[in-house]
Amino acid sequence: MIKRFEQTALVLALCSAASVTNATATMDPLFDTATDLVITPTRLRQSVAELPAAVTVVTALTIADLGLRSLPEALRLVPGMDVTQVDGNDYRVNYHGGNILIPRRLNVMIDGISVYRPGLSRVNWSAIPVLMSDIERIEVTRGPASAAYGPNSMTAVVNVITKSARATGGSTQISVQFGSSNERNVSLQHSNIADNGLAYRVSMQREITNGYDAIPALKVGHDGQTINRGTLGLDFTPNARDSLGFQVLVADGTKQVETIDSRQTSFPDVRFTDVYGAVNWRRDWNDSLETKVRATVLNQDQSQGWSTCVPMGLFAPELGALWRINPQLATALVTGATPKPSSAAEVAALTATARAIGALGARATQNLCGTTGIELTERRVDIEAQATVVVSAQLRGVVGIGYRRDSGRSDSLSGGKDVAANAARAFFNAEYRPIDNVTLNLGLYVDRDGKSGSEFLPRVGANWAVTPTQTLRASWAVGARRPDLQEQQGNWSYRLINATPAYPGIAQPQYYQTGVAQGGLLPERNERLEVGYHGNWVPGHAVVDVVVFREQQRDLVSEKLAINTFSPTNKGSLTTSGIEATLDFKPTEKLSVSVGGALVHARSETALELTQTVPLSGFLRTTYVLSDDLRISAVAYASNASSPGLRSFGRQDLSLRYKASAFRKVTFTGTLSHLDNVVTGAYQDVGRASTSRFTQSVRGIIGLEVAL
């Protein structure tokens, strides 16, 4: 979705300066070329003090200073964001906690392209298709923001803005990094602007990480990943009014997975290829009207295969039929308990199963070995048109419509059939300033799809500038997440390929357990009320932002989705309340300090919704510029956990960036980290937690960047 009306949103002008300048422009003694308004009223963004939500911005400078190497690590700087690295390639990220098993209530966008997966409602956090060094800034809207960012912006929105081809101009950079646990990373970035105005930027990266030194069941960790990333951005301005953009993002690689099947005889590693594309056209009709049209497509292919050996009897079609009639009967039969059928159909199915297994004889308990897995393709096509209109100096707004088609196909998750959901949407956001120091924001997002009905998601905010540098705000917003294709239309089963010995009469026998979605799930909803304060203290030396919030999430699909317990409902709920605060302080030009934290109280009748509860979390970071060549930064993160299995987290990083004076185009980087706790724990199942561990509490990485 095209990003609108937020930090970088395109909003309107309060055109006082323009009115001054039109008169003076023709009188310019030094710049006599006729110059259009470049920062038009429609391009102007809202100031932080006027936003109807709490927003955290992580800039490229912060990413470089702290040596941040992944998006989830950057999100540790966002108050209230809970980040748990369950294993080397598996981050669980939730805003204000919630269900750690499948966090899926955050929307993540890269230059307006949602990387939220349509089929499984997840974000492939460790394989986001963008290089960290390509990021201009990360804007995190803390709270529901569907009115501004579209579907699935339920609890928060992570909006990644990358460096445009036009912004980086003619540059080429090669960088390499080597770190603990044999972490390796090499990247190449190149951009230029041709004489005809076509700007392009291309980036490539190969990243290899080995993850933890040990994960739950193994003495040696099998949780690394190898990722190849490639991005291409084109930007063309054929005339003064139009601009065209084209973007391709690719992430391709392999993730090591320790276990998925208790009978597996090989690792169920995941091979994936994610491709995103976007085309957009922007036209400035005049200083008060701008239109944008954007089309995005994504295709995500995932393949997870493993070898397994399972008793032949568990592939009896009759046992599968019994499972579909009554899973308890099938389970009782398999575990040796006494089945208790309660209907004629159950009796018939039970009898047929017993007869079939009996026909297998001793082979019923003999292992059938072969390969199985999950092949999954997820696709999204999205087109959106919007107009930014400046009505007057007091009123400006964005209005638009869009259409989205999510689809997917999987032999194991959708029964080999195509599943899809189509949704149409409309939205508007308006900013109205009835008097100079009051800003009112009103937004509404409406969408409808054939599976879960219509959604009306409003956002209302009022900001009052008590003084020019101190603002109070209050806002109310509602966000939602539509159930994904699997939850709504899933048809989960496993077939065994190349089975040895062969199952009599069946080339690809199917495991008896299956899961079929019943459909009819409602969207999950989140309603947030907040009161905030934003101020500049000690004129300009300190920027303070404090927000007190209360959120009520309901209709949550909380169940752990597994083939043997595949029964999603809307019975979950979660209520959180608390306070978040940040302070950015720059006492001297060479020293900057930031501190932030969150105090969160969570309540829920649904135990799984409390599995990533972090009552208190925060960070303290500082950067000192020793010279033009040398910048040193330190950051400390801490969070205490109160959930079953979840461990408290604490880490201190010391980073430096040094531009070698003798070689101005060479920069050395390094980060040394200390972990308070070498073990990361997370809830896995009832009475069971995963624990991943490093063998040493001190880790490090060094790097070299060369600008050609």
Binding site: A18, M27, P29, Q46, S47, S164, R166, G169, P468, P587
Partner: protein, 304 residues
């Protein structure tokens, strides 16, 4: 209303050489005439045009509007034309010429013996004032980036001294010329290399700041939340954050004061920036960047 050259006038005269038809110049000359009603202010497109009219008596002051006119006056006056009556004491005042342009011209062009002292009221804003504007905008220790070419080297040197005195970190990024222009790819590269600066200060350098580059510079820096402090009102119109500038009325006021001193027999003052200036502010841009200081900046103007 502009006076045209009238041969044989006996009033004290100021001759304005250069293109006086542009809005700024016209407003300046009209204001100067209003401030000096007893002085005849004449305009001439070039020094040759002035000379061909055989104006008498010699003017009390030559005003050269722009670098081209200054060069013209200094070069053309070196050739002698029979019948011309050029006072050996007529001083030349350069206007609408940047400090760097002025320094280059007086250094490279030999001033004719027929002319008096040469001076200037620089056309670009005083770098010291520009730095103070940036300081007042952020109200905290600040880091300022500057794009520089060989043409602006003297001003950059001066900026470094000023920045040190004001406790401002100045980051100078030298950009390479491609012919007589700096390619936008090079400017973008230089900008991208300094994500740490809080703001950029634009120096008047047509090699960088021209119509083809300005849009990209303003868009790229705005997207990065790095306001640009321009050197003209036009740039502020387009999207720069703010700039000091000298409106024609203020410039005329300063010139009138200089003329009166010359008429009293004083030497023409040394080259300097105008003593009066206004501050033009793009409130929308500043506000959107969470810098609500427009009124503070406007109050920094220095009016007569």
């Amino acid at each position: 209303m502009l006076l045209v050259l009238v041969p044989g006038s006996t009033h004290a005269q100021i001759v304005v050489v250069g293109d006086a038809t542009r809005t700024y110049s016209t407003a300046f000359v009209e204001r100067l005439q209003a401030l000096l009603p007893s002085v005849t202010t004449r305009t001439a497109e070039s020094y040759q045009a002035y000379r061909s009219q055989n104006v008498t008596p010699p003017p009390k002051l030559f005003i050269a509007l722009g670098a081209e006119a200054l060069r013209d006056v200094l070069v053309t006056s070196r050739s002698t034309t029979p019948g011309q009556s050029v006072s050996t004491a007529t001083p030349v005042l350069s206007l609408l010429t940047t400090q760097d342009q002025y320094a280059t011209i007086v250094k490279t062009v030999k001033v004719a013996s027929s002319l008096g002292a040469v001076s200037a009221l620089y056309g670009d804003p005083d770098p010291a004032i520009q730095l103070r504007l940036i300081q007042a905008t952020f109200r905290r220790p600040v880091s300022v980036g500057v794009w520089a070419t060989s043409d602006t080297a003297p001003t950059v040197t001066k900026l470094q001294t000023l920045a040190a005195a004001l406790d401002i970190t100045l980051v100078v990024e030298n950009v390479a010329l491609d012919g007589d222009r700096v390619a936008i790819a090079e400017v973008a590269r230089a900008t991208s290399a300094h994500i740490e600066v809080d703001a950029w200060l634009a120096l008047p350098d047509a090699a960088i700041f021209n119509a083809s580059n300005l849009k990209t510079i303003l868009l790229v820096t705005y997207a990065r939340s790095q306001p640009v402090f321009g050197f003209t009102a036009t740039m502020v119109t387009a999207g720069a954050a703010a700039s000091a500038w000298v409106p024609p009325a203020m410039l005329a006021n300063d010139v009138a004061e200089m003329y009166r001193a010359i008429a009293r027999g004083a030497e023409i003052a040394n080259p300097r920036y105008s003593s009066h200036f206004d501050v033009v502010v793009n409130e929308s841009v500043l506000r959107s960047l969470s810098l609500p200081v427009a009124q503070t900046l406007k109050q920094m103007r220095r009016a007569p």
